[in-house]
Amino acid sequence: MQLSRDDLLTAYRIMRTIREFEERLHVEFATGDIPGFVHLYAGEEASGVGVCMHLDDRDRIASTHRGHGHCIAKGCDVDGMMAEIYGRRDGLCAGKGGSMHIADLDKGMMGANGIVGGGPPLICGAGLAAKQLGTGGVAIAFVGDGGSNQGTTFESLNLASVWNLPCIFVIENNGYAESTSSKWSIACDDAADRASGFNMPGVVVDGHDFFAVHEAAGEAIKRAREGAGPSLLECKLNRYYGHFEGDAQTYRGQDEVKKLRESRDCLALFRENVTSAGLLEGAELDAIDREALAQIDGAVTKAKTAPPPTAADLLTDVYVTY
């Protein structure tokens, strides 16, 4: 899958936007203004973006509790997301969902999910709809390493295979489920080893490497679009922050994250790759960095001052009719 100059700029822009979004939330959360649980995607951007660069509005994704990156990668409005996280009326979900339930069906984003393993069955449904309606769309479930052990995930792998659905299961193995190591919780070596038990290809890629993810995802998506069935893609990567904001991460090595940031940062790797190959210039990327910063800044400012939902909103949106 050839990436044009524009594609590269877009990919970098989205990754940087996610990073900026998450780094800023980390700061803002500490002020106590942001309600509830927030799980940050910083460090994992190459996965969500590497996959979603292949997608368009026919296609659907389902995310996890750690959903901001997937939302942005699938085209959700950043202002709307930020307003949602702040619990504002003009948030993407009118302030009723919050960080763990950001969704935009029009963009093919079926929702972050508060239930580990909640997404894969839904994605089987999206894949089925694409198949039955002949849209040519594919459906992608993002799953954590922890989520890969949930029964719903296993069942979905089998169902997608048996029904020959255009589905891809992307396991984002960031080494931990809360404090629990994926090396311990997944009985086999790589989660991708399980793919053969469901008669589908299973591939492991370096999830810090946008290009590796992009290529592997491209193959899986092509396969799915051609009607050849589902695939499993395991991205090995890392999260830069705690399980949720507020997690002291005592289960983690002292400078684990520091080292990762220095050596395996997906944005730095991307920059190095494209600049050393002469595909893009550092200055272009710097400009994007500045723009992303400004965009997030604007989103936060707007979110902070936006009005919250009111009593009139409490009882609406439960049913279409009742």
Binding site: K96, G118, G125
Partner: protein, 337 residues
């Protein structure tokens, strides 16, 4: 002359007619076609009780067998419902909800609210419930109170072939997730069922029998038990009004309140486990909203607080019967002013 059909046929016909009308309607579940991929006949089964028999022959790939993976396929139905299909998924027995409840109550039921009103999830989950077939503790429960508890779900419990067809058609056309509960002991019940498609609105209870002395509010198979009791009581000079809820969510509070305002006496009859069930739900609602009409205590007639027993002797004792209802009605008559 009106055409008669069984409850089972009525359900089958509703499915077939809606599939005919709307290409986006699909049916899925374990063996709903039956024998897919085996060497035997296709469409041999139509499910263990034959409810979906014939659909695969007519609608082919829109009738989909599934592995025994309820979370995955119920969830797939939910997901597909947000993506342009109108799936009717079969959860073979309602007792199996325990392996797939999340996709129903945390996903389907909550999408619309969590997403700020921007989702529609027109999925129907058909499921078989109730005691009476000696199917023991894990295949005989009612459990509709659990679904009724959940905001975002609609819950339907038809008592007759006529209602089964009309409510199922409505369920399929409805834009919210619907749990469609079929009482297994009613499948062979016959009744008038018009051939043409028709939809019955949700939230409209049915006054099955009129009477001025005592109201019996009930649902599902118990409607027939109530009617049997009412007929017997009529011989004793007590006239009962029997109200069939038809749907427990939405629930037709107006009809319930009206009948109680008329009779002043209420028996709530529910086959479900007794705690936090429809009987308590109705009784509490009436005790809040029509207290002044009440001439005496509201009596609950329900199954006891035990799992459903296997032995026929025990199961017959377990299921509320007309004798129990008669006793309750008489107690209500006696204890009222």
């Amino acid at each position: 002359m009106a055409r008669t059909a069984t409850y089972q046929q009525a359900i089958n016909e509703a499915l077939a007619q809606e599939m005919e009308r709307d290409e986006t309607v699909i049916v899925m579940g374990e063996d709903v076609a039956g024998g897919l991929g085996t060497d035997g006949e296709r469409d041999a089964w139509g499910g263990p009780l034959g409810i979906t028999k014939g659909l695969y022959g007519k609608y082919g790939d829109r009738v989909m067998d599934t592995p025994i993976s309820e979370s995955a396929f119920i969830g797939a139905a939910v997901g597909a419902a947000t993506a342009g299909l109108r799936p009717v998924a079969e959860l073979m027995f309602i007792d199996f909800m325990g392996v797939c409840f999340d996709q129903i109550f945390n996903q389907a039921a909550k999408f619309r609210y969590m997403f700020g009103g921007k989702a529609e999830t027109p999925v129907v989950i058909r499921t078989m419930y109730g005691a009476g077939l000696r199917a023991a503790a894990q295949h005989s429960q009612c459990l509709y109170p659990v679904f009724t508890h959940i905001p975002g779900l609609k819950v339907v419990t038809p008592a007759t072939p006529y209602d089964a067809k009309g409510l199922l058609i409505q369920a399929i056309r409805d834009n919210d997730p619907v749990i469609f509960c079929e009482h297994k002991a009613l499948y062979t019940l016959e009744g008038d069922v018009p051939e043409e498609p028709y939809a019955l609105p949700f939230g409209e209870a049915n006054i099955v029998r009129e009477g001025d002395d005592v109201s019996i509010v009930t649902l599902g198979r118990m409607v027939h038990v109530a009617t049997e009791a009412a007929d017997a009581l009529s011989g004793d000079g007590i006239e009962c009004e029997v109200v069939d809820l038809r749907t427990t969510s939405p629930m037709d509070e107006d009809t319930i309140l009206e009948t109680v305002e008329n009779t002043g006496r209420l028996v709530v009859l529910d086959e479900a486990h007794p705690r936090c069930n429809m009987a308590t739900d109705i009784a509490a609602m009436v005790c809040e909203k029509a207290f002044d009409s009440l001439k005496g205590p509201i009596k609950q007639v329900t199954a006891p607080h035990t799992p459903v027993p296997f032995a026929d002797t025990l199961e017959d004792l377990y299921i509320p019967d007309a004798a129990a209802v008669q006793k309750a009605v008489k107690a209500v008559m006696e204890s009222s002013k």
